[in-house]
């Protein structure tokens, strides 16, 4: 194993975050705070409780997931796309480092950044609503699995994209709508039976539901199904990444 190589990529990516602190950390914290102000205070005052939880507290897991998913994808996709765009990827390709090791560096850094962000958002939420985490271990497990899975997904997007438009296409047109319609701000039980059925086809619902259960022991689907869905998504991403490495798709000519 080229651990020095893994560490170099990881440190480089983390340093990029430090350089772009405003965009990487402070931006999501501000937008999350705004969500609390708009949904928690303005709208939340009209929706007293959901499943026995105050609306402000109810949306905390959804908000964390919203930031985690979008940031994991953008961190990892940008991390690998930018060297392709600038041409500096020549150095990665000519180095004695396997693609798996490169993946550890890029995805590890993207997932780390998302974890830090998740922790900061949770701390921010603590200023607005009283936080209660019934199963902290499970919550951390969900956070970890989500960060890793969606960082892998972002890595795949970064490899696939050959321009900036494509880089933004899936996060903007697919992931963000799925997160908003996956129960970030509401419980699926608040929908009509037809839309409840439709929502079950949204994979993000399972993530948010499981994550919310670790906080309040309430969920739209069972915890086991949520965990299984996260693992299915993780496995699918790993399979795609291993295919990319085998074929050199969009990396090597």
């Amino acid at each position: 194993m080229n651990w020095h190589g893994v560490k170099a990529i990881y440190a480089f990516e983390m340093e990029r975050t430090r350089r772009t602190l405003m965009q990487s950390i402070i931006g999501p914290v501000i937008s999350t705070s705004l969500y609390f102000v708009v949904f928690g205070a303005a709208i939340g005052s009209r929706i007293q409780q959901v499943d026995g939880i105050s609306y402000g507290a109810f949306i905390v897991p959804g908000l964390v997931m919203l930031s985690l998913l979008t940031n994991s994808i953008s961190n990892a996709s940008f991390g690998i796309y930018f060297p392709k765009f600038t041409g500096t990827i020549y150095e990665l390709l000519s180095a004695p480092i396997s693609m798996f090791e490169a993946l550890l560096g890029y995805v590890g850094a993207a997932a780390s950044k998302s974890l830090i962000l998740g922790a900061i958002i949770l701390a921010t939420a603590g200023f607005f609503v009283p936080l209660q985490i019934a199963h902290p271990f499970l919550m951390v497990l969900f956070l970890l699995l989500t960060c890793i899975s969606f960082s892998l997904f972002g890595f795949i997007i970064g490899i696939w994209a050959n321009n900036f438009e494509k880089l933004q296409l899936i996060p903007l047109l697919i992931v963000t709508p799925l997160v908003f319609l996956g129960g970030s701000f509401y419980s699926a039980s608040m929908l009509s039976p037809f839309w409840q059925t439709v929502t079950l086809f949204n994979p993000v619902l399972y993530l948010i539901s499981g994550f919310r259960w670790s906080f309040y022991e309430i969920s739209d689907v069972s915890l086991g199904v949520s965990l299984a869905m996260v693992l299915v998504f993780l496995t699918a991403c790993l399979l795609i990444v291993s295919w990319i490495f085998r074929t050199g798709y969009h990396i090597k000519k």
Binding site: N2, H4, G5, K7, A8, I9, A11, F12, E15, R16, R19, T86, G87, T88, Y90, E91, L92, L93, S94, A95, P96, I97, G248, K252, K253
Partner: protein, 307 residues
């Protein structure tokens, strides 16, 4: 001399069907400076990219120090440093961080003292804390060389290292390349500047249309293919050559003040003695004489045109 890089029957065909390399065979000797000359699109960069692992070969194999670049990529890539043609570099890193990153990427433990010595050799030590975006083009190119040297390679590929670099810096780089060779590093450079190859290379390879036309010792190449000229400055200008000294390879200048005789150094008889006797018999006296040799550029143009 022992080969450090062996390229055997190497071909590369891109997905669009373009054949960039056609059955290339090349042995690069340990400790030499070999210059690959060729017009744009000749395949020089593709050849380097395959050896360094950036482009997959379609056929053939490449060995570095006896190890296959695919099966034993960790060992071979550890030995190789690459300075790319384009100024592809992370603009927001500092100079020191950029070199440290390269060293780590190539599997080497941090060594600030070594990075310091490389930066000092490249006259970049004063700029170590500057972000690369703040540097001039010439300095960025030196940073690229520093990044390629950060992991102490034994084989260094320089793809057009002095493109867009001013004359002074180019000479500094030649001095650096010689110094690296003297320290045991094998240097493979591609260049458009034939003067560069003539100045620093031990051997010359001429590449065109994806094929290697020849690989030859530079001095041997110039001796074999470089025709020589004997130039005589006359005491009294000539309006025309007397019939007794007329020869197809003898020319008189427009002002009649010099005679130029072109001869083949490889020929059994150069004809110089006959010329001297004929001039003496015709009463043509000269006050000075000198010889010049056809440049590498002339040889290169001739070979590529014939290919």
């Amino acid at each position: 001399m022992q080969s450090i890089v062996s390229v055997r029957h190497l071909s590369k065909t891109y997905d669009d069907g373009f054949k960039a390399l056609k059955d290339i065979n090349l042995e690069i000797r340990k400790g030499e400076i070999i210059a690959l000359l060729g017009p744009n699109g000749a395949g020089k960069t593709t050849l380097i990219s395959v050896i360094c692992g950036i482009v997959n070969p379609s056929e053939g194999e490449v060995l570095v120090d006896g190890k296959n670049i695919i099966g034993d990529f960790r060992a071979t890539r550890s030995m190789i440093g690459l300075v790319p043609q384009e100024l592809t570099i992370d603009s927001f890193s500092t100079v020191f961080a950029a070199l440290s990153f390269s060293r780590g990427l190539f599997g080497k433990a941090p060594d600030p003292a070594y990075i310091e010595s490389v930066l000092k050799d490249l006259s970049l030590w004063d700029k170590r804390n500057n972000r690369i975006v703040e540097l001039s083009g010439g300095m960025k190119r030196r940073v690229l060389i520093g990044k390629a040297l950060a992991h102490q390679p034994t084989v260094l590929f320089l793809d057009e290292p002095t493109a867009g670099v001013d004359v002074e810096l180019r000479k500094d780089m030649w001095a650096l390349v010689r110094k690296l060779r003297d320290s045991g590093v094998t240097i493979i450079l591609t260049t458009h500047y034939i003067e560069e190859a003539e100045e620093i290379a031990d051997r010359i390879g001429i590449v065109t249309k994806g094929e290697i036309l020849l690989v030859e010792e530079k001095d041997e190449l110039m001796r074999k293919l470089g025709k020589k000229q004997l130039i005589l400055d006359l005491v009294e200008p000539l309006s025309s050559l007397p019939e007794s000294v007329l020869a197809p390879s003898l020319e008189v200048s427009a002002d009649g003040a010099t005679l130029t005789y072109t001869y083949d150094t490889q020929g059994e008889h150069t004809g110089i003695t006959d010329l001297m006797e004929a001039l003496r018999d015709a009463g043509i006296r000269f006050k000075d004489m000198r010889t010049t040799q056809r440049s590498l550029e002339d040889i290169f143009v001739k070979l590529v045109e014939e290919a």
